[in-house]
Protein backbone atom coordinates (compact mmCIF):
# COMPACT_ATOMS: atom_id res chain seq x y z
CA UNK A 1 0.00 0.00 0.00
CA UNK A 2 1.42 3.30 -1.01
CA UNK A 3 0.39 5.75 1.64
CA UNK A 4 3.24 8.17 1.02
CA UNK A 5 1.22 10.31 -1.39
CA UNK A 6 -1.57 11.22 0.97
CA UNK A 7 -2.12 14.89 1.49
CA UNK A 8 -3.94 17.22 3.87
CA UNK A 9 -3.76 14.68 6.63
CA UNK A 10 -6.41 12.42 5.11
CA UNK A 11 -5.72 8.73 4.97
CA UNK A 12 -5.98 7.14 1.56
CA UNK A 13 -9.07 5.28 2.65
CA UNK A 14 -10.85 8.46 3.62
CA UNK A 15 -9.78 10.19 0.47
CA UNK A 16 -11.19 7.39 -1.64
CA UNK A 17 -14.46 7.47 0.25
CA UNK A 18 -14.64 11.21 -0.21
CA UNK A 19 -14.16 10.95 -3.98
CA UNK A 20 -16.73 8.18 -4.10
CA UNK A 21 -19.33 10.33 -2.37
CA UNK A 22 -18.51 13.16 -4.73
CA UNK A 23 -18.89 10.88 -7.75
CA UNK A 24 -22.29 9.58 -6.74
CA UNK A 25 -23.66 12.81 -5.29
CA UNK A 26 -24.99 14.33 -8.55
CA UNK A 27 -27.51 11.51 -8.82
CA UNK A 28 -28.72 11.89 -5.27
CA UNK A 29 -28.86 15.68 -5.38
CA UNK A 30 -30.75 15.75 -8.68
CA UNK A 31 -32.99 12.93 -7.58
CA UNK A 32 -33.83 14.72 -4.35
CA UNK A 33 -34.86 17.83 -6.28
CA UNK A 34 -36.55 16.37 -9.35
CA UNK A 35 -37.64 12.94 -8.12
CA UNK A 36 -38.13 12.51 -4.40
CA UNK A 37 -39.38 15.97 -3.48
CA UNK A 38 -42.00 16.05 -6.27
CA UNK A 39 -43.18 12.62 -5.22
CA UNK A 40 -43.70 13.66 -1.61
CA UNK A 41 -45.21 16.94 -2.70
CA UNK A 42 -47.69 15.03 -4.88
CA UNK A 43 -49.05 13.30 -1.78
CA UNK A 44 -49.32 16.63 -0.02
CA UNK A 45 -50.93 18.28 -3.04
CA UNK A 46 -53.59 15.62 -3.34
CA UNK A 47 -55.23 17.02 -0.19
CA UNK A 48 -55.39 20.55 -1.52
CA UNK A 49 -57.39 22.49 -3.99
CA UNK A 50 -55.01 24.31 -6.31
CA UNK A 51 -55.07 25.82 -9.78
CA UNK A 52 -51.35 26.52 -9.86
CA UNK A 53 -51.77 30.28 -9.46
CA UNK A 54 -53.87 31.14 -6.44
CA UNK A 55 -53.26 30.07 -2.86
CA UNK A 56 -53.57 26.38 -2.05
CA UNK A 57 -56.67 25.47 -0.10
CA UNK A 58 -56.83 22.41 2.14
CA UNK A 59 -59.81 20.24 1.36
CA UNK A 60 -59.03 16.88 2.91
CA UNK A 61 -60.14 13.87 0.93
CA UNK A 62 -62.38 15.89 -1.39
CA UNK A 63 -60.05 15.42 -4.38
CA UNK A 64 -60.23 11.69 -3.91
CA UNK A 65 -63.97 11.65 -3.52
CA UNK A 66 -64.20 13.86 -6.61
CA UNK A 67 -62.20 11.53 -8.83
CA UNK A 68 -63.91 8.47 -7.39
CA UNK A 69 -67.24 10.01 -8.33
CA UNK A 70 -66.02 10.90 -11.79
CA UNK A 71 -67.14 8.19 -14.22
CA UNK A 72 -64.38 9.27 -16.62
CA UNK A 73 -61.77 8.38 -14.02
CA UNK A 74 -63.12 4.83 -13.84
CA UNK A 75 -63.25 4.73 -17.61
CA UNK A 76 -59.59 5.74 -17.66
CA UNK A 77 -58.65 2.86 -15.35
CA UNK A 78 -60.75 0.43 -17.33
CA UNK A 79 -59.37 1.69 -20.64
CA UNK A 80 -55.80 1.43 -19.40
CA UNK A 81 -56.31 -2.20 -18.45
CA UNK A 82 -58.34 -3.17 -21.51
CA UNK A 83 -55.96 -1.53 -23.97
CA UNK A 84 -53.02 -2.90 -22.00
CA UNK A 85 -54.31 -6.47 -22.24
CA UNK A 86 -55.38 -6.09 -25.88
CA UNK A 87 -52.03 -4.63 -26.80
CA UNK A 88 -49.67 -6.85 -24.86
CA UNK A 89 -51.08 -10.36 -24.80
CA UNK A 90 -51.17 -10.80 -28.60
CA UNK A 91 -47.87 -8.94 -28.74
CA UNK A 92 -46.09 -11.39 -26.47
CA UNK A 93 -47.54 -14.40 -28.29
CA UNK A 94 -46.52 -12.97 -31.67
CA UNK A 95 -43.07 -12.02 -30.39
CA UNK A 96 -42.49 -15.56 -29.10
CA UNK A 97 -43.60 -16.98 -32.43
CA UNK A 98 -41.40 -14.70 -34.52
CA UNK A 99 -38.43 -15.17 -32.19
CA UNK A 100 -38.86 -18.91 -32.51
CA UNK A 101 -38.85 -18.63 -36.30
CA UNK A 102 -35.80 -16.34 -36.21
CA UNK A 103 -33.99 -18.83 -34.02
CA UNK A 104 -34.68 -21.71 -36.39
CA UNK A 105 -31.67 -23.52 -37.78
CA UNK A 106 -33.34 -23.57 -41.19
CA UNK A 107 -33.28 -19.84 -41.59
CA UNK A 108 -31.36 -17.77 -44.10
CA UNK A 109 -31.29 -13.94 -44.16
CA UNK A 110 -31.67 -13.97 -40.38
CA UNK A 111 -30.21 -10.49 -39.96
CA UNK A 112 -32.44 -8.98 -42.62
CA UNK A 113 -35.56 -10.38 -41.02
CA UNK A 114 -34.38 -9.35 -37.59
CA UNK A 115 -33.82 -5.77 -38.76
CA UNK A 116 -37.18 -5.56 -40.52
CA UNK A 117 -39.11 -6.85 -37.54
CA UNK A 118 -37.28 -4.51 -35.18
CA UNK A 119 -37.76 -1.40 -37.32
CA UNK A 120 -41.03 -0.15 -35.73
CA UNK A 121 -39.36 0.19 -32.34
CA UNK A 122 -37.13 3.06 -33.44
CA UNK A 123 -40.11 5.13 -34.61
CA UNK A 124 -41.28 7.67 -32.07
CA UNK A 125 -44.64 7.00 -30.43
CA UNK A 126 -45.86 10.35 -31.78
CA UNK A 127 -45.11 9.25 -35.34
CA UNK A 128 -46.74 5.88 -34.74
CA UNK A 129 -49.86 7.56 -33.39
CA UNK A 130 -50.02 9.93 -36.38
CA UNK A 131 -49.52 7.18 -38.97
CA UNK A 132 -52.10 4.92 -37.35
CA UNK A 133 -54.37 7.89 -36.92
CA UNK A 134 -54.66 7.97 -40.71
CA UNK A 135 -54.85 4.20 -41.06
CA UNK A 136 -57.71 4.18 -38.52
CA UNK A 137 -59.45 7.19 -40.01
CA UNK A 138 -63.23 7.33 -39.57
CA UNK A 139 -63.75 8.15 -43.24
CA UNK A 140 -64.19 5.45 -45.87
CA UNK A 141 -60.77 6.38 -47.33
CA UNK A 142 -58.92 5.30 -44.16
CA UNK A 143 -57.00 2.11 -44.81
CA UNK A 144 -58.72 0.08 -42.09
CA UNK A 145 -62.20 1.10 -43.28
CA UNK A 146 -61.28 0.55 -46.91
CA UNK A 147 -60.02 -2.92 -46.04
CA UNK A 148 -63.20 -3.71 -44.09
CA UNK A 149 -65.35 -2.54 -46.99
CA UNK A 150 -64.30 -5.70 -48.88
CA UNK A 151 -66.14 -7.66 -46.22
CA UNK A 152 -69.14 -5.32 -46.38
CA UNK A 153 -68.27 -3.90 -42.98
CA UNK A 154 -67.96 -0.34 -41.78
CA UNK A 155 -67.10 2.41 -42.13
CA UNK A 156 -66.24 2.24 -38.46
CA UNK A 157 -65.86 5.35 -36.31
CA UNK A 158 -62.44 4.40 -35.05
CA UNK A 159 -61.83 7.31 -32.72
CA UNK A 160 -65.34 7.51 -31.32
CA UNK A 161 -66.82 4.10 -30.61
CA UNK A 162 -66.08 2.01 -27.55
CA UNK A 163 -64.23 -1.01 -28.94
CA UNK A 164 -62.86 0.51 -32.14
CA UNK A 165 -60.96 3.17 -30.14
CA UNK A 166 -59.37 0.47 -28.02
CA UNK A 167 -58.57 -1.74 -30.99
CA UNK A 168 -56.88 1.15 -32.77
CA UNK A 169 -54.74 2.17 -29.79
CA UNK A 170 -53.89 -1.45 -28.93
CA UNK A 171 -52.76 -1.94 -32.52
CA UNK A 172 -50.34 0.99 -32.20
CA UNK A 173 -48.90 -0.51 -29.02
CA UNK A 174 -48.70 -3.93 -30.64
CA UNK A 175 -46.97 -2.68 -33.76
CA UNK A 176 -44.29 -0.64 -32.03
CA UNK A 177 -43.35 -3.18 -29.37
CA UNK A 178 -43.65 -6.59 -30.99
CA UNK A 179 -40.22 -6.39 -32.63
CA UNK A 180 -38.53 -5.21 -29.47
CA UNK A 181 -39.88 -8.14 -27.51
CA UNK A 182 -38.98 -10.48 -30.35
CA UNK A 183 -35.35 -9.40 -30.00
CA UNK A 184 -35.45 -9.93 -26.24
CA UNK A 185 -36.96 -13.40 -26.65
CA UNK A 186 -34.44 -14.21 -29.37
CA UNK A 187 -31.55 -13.21 -27.11
CA UNK A 188 -33.01 -15.50 -24.47
CA UNK A 189 -33.44 -18.41 -26.88
CA UNK A 190 -29.89 -18.09 -28.12
CA UNK A 191 -28.57 -18.39 -24.60
CA UNK A 192 -30.18 -21.82 -24.19
CA UNK A 193 -27.41 -24.43 -24.55
CA UNK A 194 -27.64 -26.33 -27.82
CA UNK A 195 -26.78 -29.61 -26.07
CA UNK A 196 -30.20 -29.63 -24.44
CA UNK A 197 -31.89 -29.80 -27.83
CA UNK A 198 -29.43 -32.36 -29.12
CA UNK A 199 -30.01 -34.58 -26.12
CA UNK A 200 -33.77 -34.22 -26.58
CA UNK A 201 -33.48 -35.12 -30.25
CA UNK A 202 -31.52 -38.25 -29.39
CA UNK A 203 -34.26 -39.17 -26.95
CA UNK A 204 -36.70 -38.80 -29.82
CA UNK A 205 -38.49 -35.62 -28.71
CA UNK A 206 -40.66 -33.92 -31.33
CA UNK A 207 -40.37 -30.21 -32.11
CA UNK A 208 -43.50 -29.55 -30.06
CA UNK A 209 -42.04 -31.39 -27.10
CA UNK A 210 -38.78 -29.48 -27.44
CA UNK A 211 -40.64 -26.17 -27.32
CA UNK A 212 -42.80 -27.24 -24.40
CA UNK A 213 -40.12 -28.95 -22.34
CA UNK A 214 -36.98 -26.94 -23.14
CA UNK A 215 -37.60 -23.59 -24.82
CA UNK A 216 -40.51 -22.31 -22.74
CA UNK A 217 -39.19 -23.36 -19.29
CA UNK A 218 -35.73 -21.96 -20.05
CA UNK A 219 -37.30 -18.71 -21.22
CA UNK A 220 -39.23 -18.17 -18.00
CA UNK A 221 -37.03 -15.37 -16.60
CA UNK A 222 -37.07 -13.54 -19.95
CA UNK A 223 -40.82 -13.96 -20.21
CA UNK A 224 -41.21 -12.54 -16.73
CA UNK A 225 -39.09 -9.55 -17.73
CA UNK A 226 -41.15 -8.97 -20.86
CA UNK A 227 -44.47 -9.27 -19.01
CA UNK A 228 -43.14 -7.00 -16.29
CA UNK A 229 -41.98 -4.21 -18.61
CA UNK A 230 -45.09 -4.54 -20.77
CA UNK A 231 -47.32 -4.17 -17.70
CA UNK A 232 -45.52 -1.08 -16.47
CA UNK A 233 -45.48 0.33 -20.00
CA UNK A 234 -49.23 -0.20 -20.46
CA UNK A 235 -49.98 1.56 -17.20
CA UNK A 236 -48.12 4.61 -18.46
CA UNK A 237 -49.88 4.74 -21.81
CA UNK A 238 -50.40 8.36 -22.76
CA UNK A 239 -49.02 9.53 -26.09
CA UNK A 240 -51.10 7.25 -28.32
CA UNK A 241 -54.51 8.29 -26.94
CA UNK A 242 -53.55 11.96 -26.80
CA UNK A 243 -52.45 12.10 -30.44
CA UNK A 244 -55.18 9.79 -31.68
CA UNK A 245 -58.06 11.39 -29.80
CA UNK A 246 -56.78 14.96 -29.68
CA UNK A 247 -57.02 17.34 -26.74
CA UNK A 248 -60.57 16.31 -25.89
CA UNK A 249 -59.49 12.78 -24.96
CA UNK A 250 -62.83 11.06 -25.34
CA UNK A 251 -63.99 8.83 -22.55
CA UNK A 252 -63.77 5.77 -24.81
CA UNK A 253 -60.01 6.02 -25.04
CA UNK A 254 -58.67 8.16 -22.19
CA UNK A 255 -56.01 6.42 -20.09
CA UNK A 256 -54.90 7.07 -16.52
CA UNK A 257 -51.87 9.21 -17.35
CA UNK A 258 -53.91 11.05 -19.97
CA UNK A 259 -56.58 11.75 -17.32
CA UNK A 260 -53.89 13.04 -14.98
CA UNK A 261 -52.38 15.24 -17.70
CA UNK A 262 -55.75 16.65 -18.75
CA UNK A 263 -56.77 17.49 -15.19
CA UNK A 264 -53.49 19.26 -14.56
CA UNK A 265 -52.61 20.96 -17.82
CA UNK A 266 -55.95 21.47 -19.53
CA UNK A 267 -58.25 22.06 -16.54
CA UNK A 268 -55.56 23.47 -14.17
CA UNK A 269 -56.91 21.27 -11.42
CA UNK A 270 -53.64 20.23 -9.82
CA UNK A 271 -55.19 18.78 -6.68
CA UNK A 272 -57.42 16.23 -8.38
CA UNK A 273 -54.64 15.44 -10.83
CA UNK A 274 -52.36 14.68 -7.90
CA UNK A 275 -55.02 12.48 -6.37
CA UNK A 276 -55.19 10.60 -9.68
CA UNK A 277 -51.39 10.30 -9.61
CA UNK A 278 -51.56 8.74 -6.13
CA UNK A 279 -54.14 6.19 -7.27
CA UNK A 280 -52.00 5.41 -10.32
CA UNK A 281 -49.01 5.00 -8.04
CA UNK A 282 -50.87 2.56 -5.78
CA UNK A 283 -52.00 0.51 -8.77
CA UNK A 284 -48.48 0.33 -10.17
CA UNK A 285 -46.99 -0.61 -6.79
CA UNK A 286 -49.61 -3.35 -6.31
CA UNK A 287 -48.98 -4.81 -9.75
CA UNK A 288 -45.21 -4.60 -9.25
CA UNK A 289 -45.51 -6.44 -5.95
CA UNK A 290 -47.68 -9.15 -7.51
CA UNK A 291 -45.21 -9.45 -10.36
CA UNK A 292 -42.26 -9.80 -8.00
CA UNK A 293 -44.13 -12.32 -5.88
CA UNK A 294 -44.83 -14.49 -8.91
CA UNK A 295 -41.22 -14.17 -10.09
CA UNK A 296 -39.94 -15.24 -6.67
CA UNK A 297 -42.37 -18.14 -6.58
CA UNK A 298 -41.16 -19.30 -9.97
CA UNK A 299 -37.54 -18.88 -8.91
CA UNK A 300 -38.17 -21.05 -5.87
CA UNK A 301 -39.90 -23.87 -7.76
CA UNK A 302 -36.99 -23.90 -10.19
CA UNK A 303 -34.51 -24.42 -7.39
CA UNK A 304 -36.47 -27.37 -5.99
CA UNK A 305 -36.68 -29.25 -9.25
Amino acid sequence: MATTKKSKGLTEKKRTALSAYLFISPFFILFAIFGLFPMIFSFYLSFFRWDGLNAMEFNGFKNFSFIFNDPVFFSSIKNTFLIGIMGTVPQIVAALLIAFALNSALLRFRNTFRTLVFLPYITSIVSVAIIFGLIFNNQPFGFANYFLSFFDLGPIRWNADYWPVKIAIATMVFWRWVGYNTIIFLAGMQSIPRELYEAAKIDGATVGQQIRLITLPMLKPITMFVVFTATIGSLQLFTEPLIFLGRGLREEGITMVAYLWRDAFVYNSFGTASAAAIVLFLIIITLTAINLLITNQLGRSKKVS
Binding site: A2, K5, E12, R15, T16, A17, S19, A20, Y21, F23, I24, P26, F27, F28, I33, F34, G35, F37, P38, M39, S42, I98, A101, S104, L106, F113, L116, V117, F118, L119, P120, I122, S124, I125, V126, S127, I130, I131, F132, L134, I135, Q139, P140, F141, G142, W175, G179, Y180, I183, I184, F225, I232, L235, I243, G246, A264, A277, I278, L280, I284
Partner: protein
Protein backbone atom coordinates in the same frame (compact mmCIF):
# COMPACT_ATOMS: atom_id res chain seq x y z
CA UNK B 1 -29.60 -33.06 -47.63
CA UNK B 2 -26.05 -32.21 -46.87
CA UNK B 3 -24.48 -29.36 -44.98
CA UNK B 4 -26.18 -27.44 -42.21
CA UNK B 5 -29.66 -28.63 -43.09
CA UNK B 6 -31.06 -31.01 -40.55
CA UNK B 7 -31.69 -34.62 -41.42
CA UNK B 8 -35.01 -35.13 -43.15
CA UNK B 9 -35.52 -31.47 -44.02
CA UNK B 10 -36.41 -31.16 -47.67
CA UNK B 11 -36.41 -27.97 -49.67
CA UNK B 12 -40.05 -27.34 -48.83
CA UNK B 13 -40.58 -29.01 -45.48
CA UNK B 14 -43.66 -27.78 -43.59
CA UNK B 15 -41.41 -26.52 -40.80
CA UNK B 16 -39.44 -24.39 -43.22
CA UNK B 17 -42.59 -23.00 -44.81
CA UNK B 18 -43.91 -22.10 -41.37
CA UNK B 19 -40.67 -20.35 -40.45
CA UNK B 20 -40.54 -18.29 -43.62
CA UNK B 21 -44.24 -17.53 -43.72
CA UNK B 22 -44.29 -16.14 -40.19
CA UNK B 23 -41.22 -14.01 -40.85
CA UNK B 24 -42.50 -12.69 -44.16
CA UNK B 25 -45.86 -11.81 -42.63
CA UNK B 26 -44.09 -10.20 -39.66
CA UNK B 27 -41.83 -8.15 -41.92
CA UNK B 28 -44.72 -6.97 -44.09
CA UNK B 29 -46.70 -5.90 -41.05
CA UNK B 30 -43.63 -3.99 -39.82
CA UNK B 31 -42.98 -2.31 -43.12
CA UNK B 32 -46.50 -1.47 -44.24
CA UNK B 33 -47.04 1.61 -42.02
CA UNK B 34 -43.71 3.03 -43.19
CA UNK B 35 -44.71 2.52 -46.80
CA UNK B 36 -48.17 3.95 -46.20
CA UNK B 37 -46.62 7.01 -44.54
CA UNK B 38 -44.37 7.52 -47.55
CA UNK B 39 -47.25 7.15 -50.01
CA UNK B 40 -49.36 9.67 -48.13
CA UNK B 41 -46.42 12.06 -47.83
CA UNK B 42 -46.28 12.22 -51.62
CA UNK B 43 -50.00 12.80 -52.16
CA UNK B 44 -52.30 15.78 -51.99
CA UNK B 45 -55.19 15.81 -49.59
CA UNK B 46 -57.80 15.39 -52.29
CA UNK B 47 -56.01 12.29 -53.57
CA UNK B 48 -55.93 10.84 -50.06
CA UNK B 49 -59.62 11.60 -49.51
CA UNK B 50 -60.67 9.29 -52.31
CA UNK B 51 -62.03 5.78 -52.12
CA UNK B 52 -59.97 3.73 -52.77
CA UNK B 53 -57.07 5.64 -51.21
CA UNK B 54 -53.82 5.71 -53.21
CA UNK B 55 -51.38 2.88 -52.66
CA UNK B 56 -48.56 4.06 -54.86
CA UNK B 57 -46.35 7.13 -54.36
CA UNK B 58 -47.46 10.38 -55.99
CA UNK B 59 -45.59 13.45 -57.13
CA UNK B 60 -46.04 15.91 -54.29
CA UNK B 61 -43.28 15.03 -51.87
CA UNK B 62 -41.57 18.41 -52.15
CA UNK B 63 -44.80 20.38 -52.18
CA UNK B 64 -46.05 18.70 -49.01
CA UNK B 65 -42.81 19.32 -47.23
CA UNK B 66 -42.95 22.96 -48.29
CA UNK B 67 -46.30 23.16 -46.52
CA UNK B 68 -44.77 21.62 -43.40
CA UNK B 69 -42.08 24.29 -43.45
CA UNK B 70 -44.77 26.93 -43.72
CA UNK B 71 -46.65 25.60 -40.69
CA UNK B 72 -43.90 24.73 -38.24
CA UNK B 73 -40.20 25.47 -37.85
CA UNK B 74 -39.31 21.92 -38.80
CA UNK B 75 -35.52 22.28 -38.92
CA UNK B 76 -35.53 24.40 -35.80
CA UNK B 77 -37.45 21.67 -33.98
CA UNK B 78 -35.09 19.04 -35.33
CA UNK B 79 -32.12 21.05 -34.11
CA UNK B 80 -33.78 21.43 -30.69
CA UNK B 81 -34.27 17.68 -30.48
CA UNK B 82 -30.71 17.06 -31.58
CA UNK B 83 -29.28 19.56 -29.11
CA UNK B 84 -31.30 18.29 -26.16
CA UNK B 85 -30.71 14.62 -26.93
CA UNK B 86 -26.98 15.09 -27.41
CA UNK B 87 -26.53 17.12 -24.24
CA UNK B 88 -28.53 14.72 -22.11
CA UNK B 89 -26.67 11.76 -23.58
CA UNK B 90 -23.22 13.21 -22.93
CA UNK B 91 -24.15 14.35 -19.43
CA UNK B 92 -25.74 11.02 -18.57
CA UNK B 93 -22.77 9.07 -19.86
CA UNK B 94 -20.43 11.17 -17.74
CA UNK B 95 -22.44 11.06 -14.52
CA UNK B 96 -23.48 7.41 -14.86
CA UNK B 97 -19.97 6.19 -15.53
CA UNK B 98 -18.54 8.30 -12.72
CA UNK B 99 -21.07 6.91 -10.25
CA UNK B 100 -20.75 3.45 -11.77
CA UNK B 101 -17.00 3.59 -11.22
CA UNK B 102 -17.49 4.58 -7.58
CA UNK B 103 -19.94 1.72 -7.01
CA UNK B 104 -17.80 -0.80 -8.85
CA UNK B 105 -14.31 -0.03 -7.61
CA UNK B 106 -14.23 2.36 -4.66
CA UNK B 107 -14.84 1.45 -1.04
CA UNK B 108 -17.04 3.63 1.09
CA UNK B 109 -19.54 3.38 3.88
CA UNK B 110 -23.16 2.71 2.95
CA UNK B 111 -22.23 1.60 -0.55
CA UNK B 112 -24.71 -1.24 -0.88
CA UNK B 113 -27.54 0.71 0.73
CA UNK B 114 -27.00 3.68 -1.57
CA UNK B 115 -26.83 1.43 -4.60
CA UNK B 116 -30.01 -0.31 -3.48
CA UNK B 117 -31.72 3.07 -3.24
CA UNK B 118 -30.75 3.83 -6.82
CA UNK B 119 -32.28 0.56 -7.99
CA UNK B 120 -35.49 1.24 -6.09
CA UNK B 121 -35.92 4.56 -7.91
CA UNK B 122 -36.27 2.59 -11.15
CA UNK B 123 -39.56 1.13 -9.90
CA UNK B 124 -41.27 4.46 -9.34
CA UNK B 125 -43.61 5.64 -12.10
CA UNK B 126 -42.25 8.95 -13.41
CA UNK B 127 -45.72 10.47 -13.83
CA UNK B 128 -46.32 10.50 -10.10
CA UNK B 129 -44.28 13.66 -9.58
CA UNK B 130 -45.24 15.32 -12.83
CA UNK B 131 -47.16 18.25 -11.37
CA UNK B 132 -44.66 19.28 -8.65
CA UNK B 133 -41.88 18.81 -11.19
CA UNK B 134 -43.65 21.24 -13.45
CA UNK B 135 -44.03 23.61 -10.53
CA UNK B 136 -40.33 23.37 -9.62
CA UNK B 137 -39.41 24.14 -13.21
CA UNK B 138 -41.70 27.16 -13.15
CA UNK B 139 -40.23 28.37 -9.86
CA UNK B 140 -36.70 28.03 -11.21
CA UNK B 141 -37.78 30.04 -14.25
CA UNK B 142 -36.89 27.16 -16.57
CA UNK B 143 -40.20 26.99 -18.40
CA UNK B 144 -39.46 27.16 -22.13
CA UNK B 145 -35.82 26.53 -21.34
CA UNK B 146 -33.89 23.44 -22.41
CA UNK B 147 -32.49 23.23 -18.88
CA UNK B 148 -35.94 21.91 -17.90
CA UNK B 149 -35.29 18.83 -19.99
CA UNK B 150 -31.54 18.50 -19.69
CA UNK B 151 -30.98 18.77 -15.92
CA UNK B 152 -33.72 16.35 -14.73
CA UNK B 153 -32.77 14.12 -17.68
CA UNK B 154 -29.36 13.51 -16.12
CA UNK B 155 -30.82 11.27 -13.41
CA UNK B 156 -30.51 7.81 -14.80
CA UNK B 157 -30.62 4.90 -12.40
CA UNK B 158 -30.44 2.36 -15.19
CA UNK B 159 -27.32 4.10 -16.54
CA UNK B 160 -25.52 3.80 -13.21
CA UNK B 161 -26.56 0.19 -12.89
CA UNK B 162 -25.36 -0.55 -16.41
CA UNK B 163 -22.01 1.21 -15.97
CA UNK B 164 -21.32 -0.38 -12.60
CA UNK B 165 -21.88 -3.80 -14.12
CA UNK B 166 -19.59 -3.10 -17.03
CA UNK B 167 -16.79 -1.50 -15.01
CA UNK B 168 -16.93 -4.27 -12.43
CA UNK B 169 -16.29 -6.97 -15.02
CA UNK B 170 -14.35 -4.94 -17.57
CA UNK B 171 -11.74 -3.03 -15.58
CA UNK B 172 -9.24 -5.17 -13.62
CA UNK B 173 -8.33 -4.13 -10.08
CA UNK B 174 -4.59 -4.46 -10.80
CA UNK B 175 -4.60 -1.53 -13.23
CA UNK B 176 -6.33 0.70 -10.72
CA UNK B 177 -3.96 -0.39 -7.96
CA UNK B 178 -0.97 0.33 -10.18
CA UNK B 179 -2.27 3.81 -10.99
CA UNK B 180 -2.86 4.47 -7.30
CA UNK B 181 0.73 3.52 -6.48
CA UNK B 182 1.82 5.98 -9.16
CA UNK B 183 -0.11 8.62 -7.26
CA UNK B 184 -3.12 9.12 -9.50
CA UNK B 185 -6.17 10.72 -7.91
CA UNK B 186 -9.42 8.81 -8.14
CA UNK B 187 -10.75 11.17 -10.76
CA UNK B 188 -7.62 10.84 -12.88
CA UNK B 189 -7.90 7.07 -12.67
CA UNK B 190 -11.49 7.39 -13.85
CA UNK B 191 -10.66 9.81 -16.64
CA UNK B 192 -7.41 8.36 -17.95
CA UNK B 193 -7.88 4.65 -17.31
CA UNK B 194 -11.52 3.71 -16.80
CA UNK B 195 -13.06 5.89 -19.52
CA UNK B 196 -10.90 4.57 -22.38
CA UNK B 197 -11.62 1.02 -21.24
CA UNK B 198 -15.40 1.32 -21.26
CA UNK B 199 -16.01 2.88 -24.67
CA UNK B 200 -18.29 0.00 -25.79
CA UNK B 201 -20.46 0.58 -22.72
CA UNK B 202 -20.63 4.27 -23.64
CA UNK B 203 -21.77 3.39 -27.16
CA UNK B 204 -24.57 1.09 -26.07
CA UNK B 205 -25.86 3.23 -23.21
CA UNK B 206 -25.51 6.31 -25.41
CA UNK B 207 -27.81 4.82 -28.02
CA UNK B 208 -30.45 3.91 -25.45
CA UNK B 209 -30.40 7.36 -23.84
CA UNK B 210 -30.29 9.31 -27.09
CA UNK B 211 -33.27 7.45 -28.49
CA UNK B 212 -35.28 7.82 -25.30
CA UNK B 213 -34.71 11.59 -25.20
CA UNK B 214 -35.27 12.05 -28.93
CA UNK B 215 -38.58 10.20 -28.78
CA UNK B 216 -39.79 11.59 -25.45
CA UNK B 217 -43.06 13.45 -25.60
CA UNK B 218 -44.88 13.96 -22.28
CA UNK B 219 -42.27 16.04 -20.44
CA UNK B 220 -41.28 18.28 -23.39
CA UNK B 221 -44.98 18.82 -24.05
CA UNK B 222 -45.42 20.04 -20.49
CA UNK B 223 -42.38 22.32 -20.14
CA UNK B 224 -41.73 23.62 -23.67
CA UNK B 225 -44.68 25.89 -24.33
CA UNK B 226 -43.11 28.23 -26.84
CA UNK B 227 -43.21 26.91 -30.45
CA UNK B 228 -39.63 28.06 -31.06
CA UNK B 229 -38.50 25.72 -28.28
CA UNK B 230 -40.52 22.71 -29.40
CA UNK B 231 -38.73 19.46 -29.96
CA UNK B 232 -39.57 17.46 -33.05
CA UNK B 233 -42.13 15.27 -31.27
CA UNK B 234 -44.01 18.23 -29.82
CA UNK B 235 -43.87 20.08 -33.15
CA UNK B 236 -45.25 17.03 -34.97
CA UNK B 237 -48.11 16.92 -32.55
CA UNK B 238 -48.98 20.56 -33.12
CA UNK B 239 -48.93 19.83 -36.86
CA UNK B 240 -51.42 17.03 -36.25
CA UNK B 241 -53.61 19.16 -34.00
CA UNK B 242 -54.48 21.80 -36.59
CA UNK B 243 -58.17 22.31 -37.22
CA UNK B 244 -58.10 21.56 -40.93
CA UNK B 245 -56.27 18.32 -41.36
CA UNK B 246 -53.99 18.20 -44.35
CA UNK B 247 -53.03 14.54 -44.26
CA UNK B 248 -50.43 14.80 -46.99
CA UNK B 249 -48.64 17.54 -45.11
CA UNK B 250 -48.87 15.79 -41.72
CA UNK B 251 -47.52 12.58 -43.18
CA UNK B 252 -44.74 14.49 -44.87
CA UNK B 253 -43.70 15.98 -41.54
CA UNK B 254 -43.87 12.60 -39.85
CA UNK B 255 -41.94 11.02 -42.70
CA UNK B 256 -39.07 13.50 -42.62
CA UNK B 257 -38.94 13.29 -38.84
CA UNK B 258 -38.58 9.52 -39.08
CA UNK B 259 -35.94 9.43 -41.81
CA UNK B 260 -32.94 10.54 -39.66
CA UNK B 261 -33.65 7.84 -37.07
CA UNK B 262 -34.05 5.28 -39.84
CA UNK B 263 -30.67 6.21 -41.27
CA UNK B 264 -28.95 6.10 -37.89
CA UNK B 265 -30.62 2.79 -37.18
CA UNK B 266 -29.58 1.20 -40.46
CA UNK B 267 -26.00 2.41 -39.93
CA UNK B 268 -25.70 1.09 -36.39
CA UNK B 269 -28.25 -1.67 -36.70
CA UNK B 270 -26.18 -4.33 -34.99
CA UNK B 271 -25.08 -2.15 -32.10
CA UNK B 272 -28.66 -0.96 -31.60
CA UNK B 273 -30.19 -4.40 -31.33
CA UNK B 274 -27.33 -5.74 -29.29
CA UNK B 275 -27.46 -2.90 -26.80
CA UNK B 276 -31.19 -3.18 -26.25
CA UNK B 277 -31.22 -6.92 -25.79
CA UNK B 278 -28.16 -6.74 -23.54
CA UNK B 279 -29.87 -4.09 -21.48
CA UNK B 280 -32.77 -6.44 -20.97
CA UNK B 281 -31.04 -9.77 -20.57
CA UNK B 282 -27.86 -8.28 -19.06
Amino acid sequence: MAGKREVGEGKFSPKKIFVYMSLIVGSLVSLFPFYYMFVMATRLNREINQVPPPFTPGKHLVENFQKVLNSIDFFGAMWNSFFVATTVTLGTLFLSSLAGYAFAKLDFKGKSILFGMILVTMMVPPQLGLIPQYYIITTLGWLNDFKAIIIPGLINAFGIFWMRQYIKDGVPYEIIEAAKIDGCSNFRIYWNIVVPMILPAFATLGIIVFMAVWNDFLWPLVVLRDPSMHTLQVALRSLNDARLLDYGMIMSGTFWATVPLLIVFLLFNRLFIQSLSEGAVK
